[in-house]
């Protein structure tokens, strides 16, 4: 009985996202943004490229680009080449196209995006009112699971959006996968995917699941989950934050309001 007033004590603490932007994130390392204009004058650029522990930075004709699917947000580039790289609190960095995680985007990356988007939208049309998510750990460092579990805390409270976690893959619409794709989990992951009914969507949660992160490709790490299951939505972050995960799940099932559709870097 004494728990009832305890539960009411603080009023409503739940976020208003995605209806309106959430103020959380000031000073937060959400993503690295790139200003390619500076590349001729930034003396630290080469040392930033050399210092990146996951080789996420490349240089093309138009200047430096950073692959958020590999970036573990260590921040070295923002210190060594602050004119080119800086942290931004944005968490709306998910994309349905692996190439779109490389920022800033190049024009040729847009070619297949509309096709992908309409194909995904057609597939998930039936899922919009109630979405059941099955999480599978495929070799995470353990932090990703905390962020996934946080989605049910009173601040994110994803049930309010019709999103539920389910124990049975046979009830699941979304397969949310964390981890580097460890050799031992490839079989169980594939099996989980196979028994999920159609239509189904796969979300790769975090750079570990996208590229293997700092572990990369080794004798036990397969450099992400892409070889085991077909990924529909890529959520950067190391680990991805609860808001980042929420953005990715909403993108997967076509529930993002147009105002926060994101998926590309906005300066």
């Amino acid at each position: 009985m004494p728990w009832i007033p305890r539960g009411l004590r603080e009023g409503i603490v739940t976020s208003i996202y995605p209806g309106r932007p959430d103020g959380y994130g000031v000073g937060f390392r959400g993503a690295v943004v790139v200003d390619p204009e500076q590349h001729d004058t930034d003396p630290g650029l080469q040392s930033a490229i050399d210092a990146c522990p996951t080789e996420a930075i490349s240089v093309a004709n138009a200047g430096p680009r950073l692959d958020r699917g590999r970036c573990i947000l260590c921040g070295r580039c923002t210190q060594l080449a602050p004119e080119t790289f800086r942290f931004d609190p944005t968490f709306e960095t998910s994309s349905i196209d692996r190439h779109h995680l490389v920022v800033p985007e190049a024009a040729e990356d847009d070619l297949g995006l509309e096709t992908l988007r309409s194909e995904l939208a057609r597939r998930v049309r039936a899922l919009r009112r109630s979405v059941h998510v099955r999480h599978v750990d495929a070799g995470s460092d353990g932090a990703d699971e905390w962020e996934v579990a946080a989605l049910t805390n009173p601040i994110y409270d994803v049930q309010r959006l019709g999103i539920f976690f389910t124990a049975s893959p046979k009830h699941a619409d979304v397969l949310l996968v964390t981890g580097v794709g460890s050799a031992g989990m490839l079989g169980p992951l594939r099996h989980t995917f196979e028994v999920m009914p159609d239509p189904k969507v796969v979300v790769a949660a975090g750079v570990d699941a996208i590229s293997g992160g700092l572990l990369g490709v080794g004798y036990a790490s397969r450099g992400g989950i892409g070889d085991a299951v077909p990924v529909d939505v890529f959520v950067p972050g190391a680990p991805p934050t609860p808001f980042g995960l929420l953005h990715g799940i909403l993108m997967a099932v076509g529930l993002l309001p147009t105002a926060v559709r994101g998926g590309s870097q906005r300066e």
Binding site: V136, E145, W146, A150, A167, S182
Partner: protein
């Protein structure tokens, strides 16, 4: 308070005798590790005695391929010997149960041998040695995992049960093995600390401190007092978050919906405070070799205010939780680790401290700034059940706030951007030593070998690894419905076990 570097070498035959003899004279067994010496393999037993760590070493030649098992004399060595067999292919003769632990492979196949400098391509696993052998008539098995019912790390528990009790339980952690130890080889120490943070992601700070402690010892440079205090601030916030997580899992298993929401809210606030202090919800990037990346992003007044609010909210809810019979009844006498077992296996962290063990590395072997901070007095407990572990964790949350306040007071103004104050430059060092820290799960050890500043071998040993070996002993009187509570009360991260 430093690791003793003297190298005592023994013949293989005498090795178990030497280690067991040290333990009989009062040393604590902390772990058994391996590293390569050319084609040969060196075994390193780590022992704690009189407030310091030291090692006993023996070289097993490539031709021998086996050594006499320690496990019959030192039961706590069982998992370490299985791990060494999996990663190095060394066979411990006389081991009572040598099932694969973290890397099941076809017999005779080449092993990764981390630190050998030989790269290994993708390995195929061989799951055939893991077939279930039933222990008796009328017993059936329930394989639980590795895809769990809920948001959990991947692990498989094979429960053998006649229907309700759990006479036998096997733990299979290899699903998550990522090859972390091999990845360390060849890295710079600056990259190494990033990997250390990802060995056991929920204890990033403790792993980074233990790794950097070893690196700094080899370089002969101590982090500044100010850097040590910032490390304390983040390490204690990490402890609070982990202990809240264990509490959340308990309340969820007990169906305490409001308590679940309340403690989830507290944990989220701790994670957000950490992000405001350093940009990362897991305090990543704070601890670096030579100190910390920089001063906290909040000033002392803001930290004190945030800590005060957190502490008031958590302690009020903790008091109510421990006065809620429908919660307490599920934990009392559930999952008992007797003081005898805890002592024989040197249970670490809150599990040990709920079962009569008292060692806390923060104060037994003070590192960083802990030596200058007052020791929060914790009530000793020896009931050994899930409730005792819950009480230990709630007491430790109080203790952490106490330490944070002292650290913030000692730091004074945070604003000094002088880089030298926060991070001291390290010379490129060569040698091998140990580093340690008290993670929320218990003592973390790092065996680090450097060659002119490059990592030859870094071997993390999490408390989760050491403690999970005791999990199968926690079901003397328990039934299947107690499982969730016992698992939550252990509070281990499988990432830190399987590496």
């Amino acid at each position: 308070m430093t690791a003793d570097e003297t190298l005592s070498s023994h013949s293989i035959g005498a090795f178990p005798e030497v280690v067991a003899g040290r333990i009989n004279r009062g040393a604590r067994f902390c772990g058994l590790f391996a590293s390569t010496r050319g084609d040969d393999t060196q075994l390193i037993a780590v022992l704690a005695e009189n407030g310091s760590l030291d090692t006993e070493k023996v070289v097993v030649s490539a031709g021998a391929g086996s050594y006499p098992s320690l496990t019959s004399r030192v039961p706590a060595a069982a998992w370490y010997e299985r791990e060494i067999r999996d990663l190095f292919g060394l066979h411990p003769d006389g081991h009572p149960r040598l099932d694969p632990l973290i890397l099941p492979m076809p017999s005779g196949s080449a092993r990764p041998r981390p630190g050998s400098g030989v790269a290994t391509g993708a390995l195929e696993l061989d799951l055939t040695p893991l077939h279930v052998h039933l222990a008796g008539e009328g017993v059936f098995t329930i394989p639980y995992g590795p895809v769990r019912s809920g948001v959990f790390e991947a692990v498989e528990y094979v429960v053998e049960t006649p229907g309700e009790t759990i006479p036998l339980l096997r733990t299979r952690v290899f699903y998550k093995h990522r090859g972390v130890e091999s990845r360390f080889a060849g890295m710079s120490v600056d990259d190494g600390v990033l990997l250390a943070e990802r060995c056991e992601g929920v204890a990033s700070v403790a792993h980074a401190i233990a790794f950097c402690g070893a690196v700094e010892r080899l370089a002969g440079v101590d982090a500044s007092t100010e850097a040590g205090l910032v490390r304390v601030l983040h390490a204690e916030l990490e402890r609070v978050a982990n202990h809240l997580d264990s509490t959340i899992r308990h309340t969820e298993a007990a169906g305490q919906a409001v308590a679940f929401s309340r403690f989830s809210l507290h944990k989220e606030r701790v994670q957000r405070l950490r992000a405001r202090l350093c940009g990362s919800r897991f305090s990543r990037g704070v601890v670096v070799p030579g100190g910390v990346a920089g001063p906290p992003a909040l000033d002392a007044t803001e930290v004190r205010a945030a800590i005060g609010q957190l502490e008031a909210g958590i302690s009020a809810d903790a008091r109510l939780l421990l006065a809620t019979p429908s919660f307490v009844d599920r934990l009392r006498e559930t999952g008992v680790i007797t003081p005898e077992i805890a002592h024989r296996y040197w249970a670490l962290g809150p599990i040990g401290r709920g079962s009569g063990q008292s060692e806390d590395v923060r104060f037994a072997r003070p590192y960083g700034a802990y030596g200058r901070l007052g020791h929060p007095l914790l009530e000793p407990r020896d009931e050994g059940d899930a409730l005792a572990r819950q009480r230990v964790r709630l007491d430790e949350i109080d203790g952490s706030f106490h330490l944070i306040r002292q650290a913030v007071d000692d730091l004074g103004g945070f604003g000094d951007p002088d880089r030298a104050l926060w991070r001291r430059p390290l010379p490129d060092a060569t040698g091998e030593t140990l580093g340690w820290a008290e993670a929320p799960q218990g003592e973390v050890l790092y065996l680090v070998e450097l060659d002119e500043g490059r990592i030859v071998r870094a071997k993390p040993r999490s408390a989760s690894f050491h403690n999970l070996a005791l999990f199968s002993m926690a079901f003397p009187n328990d039934i299947l419905t107690d499982f969730a509570f016992i698992e939550a009360s252990f509070g281990v991260s499988i990432a830190g076990v399987a590496n």
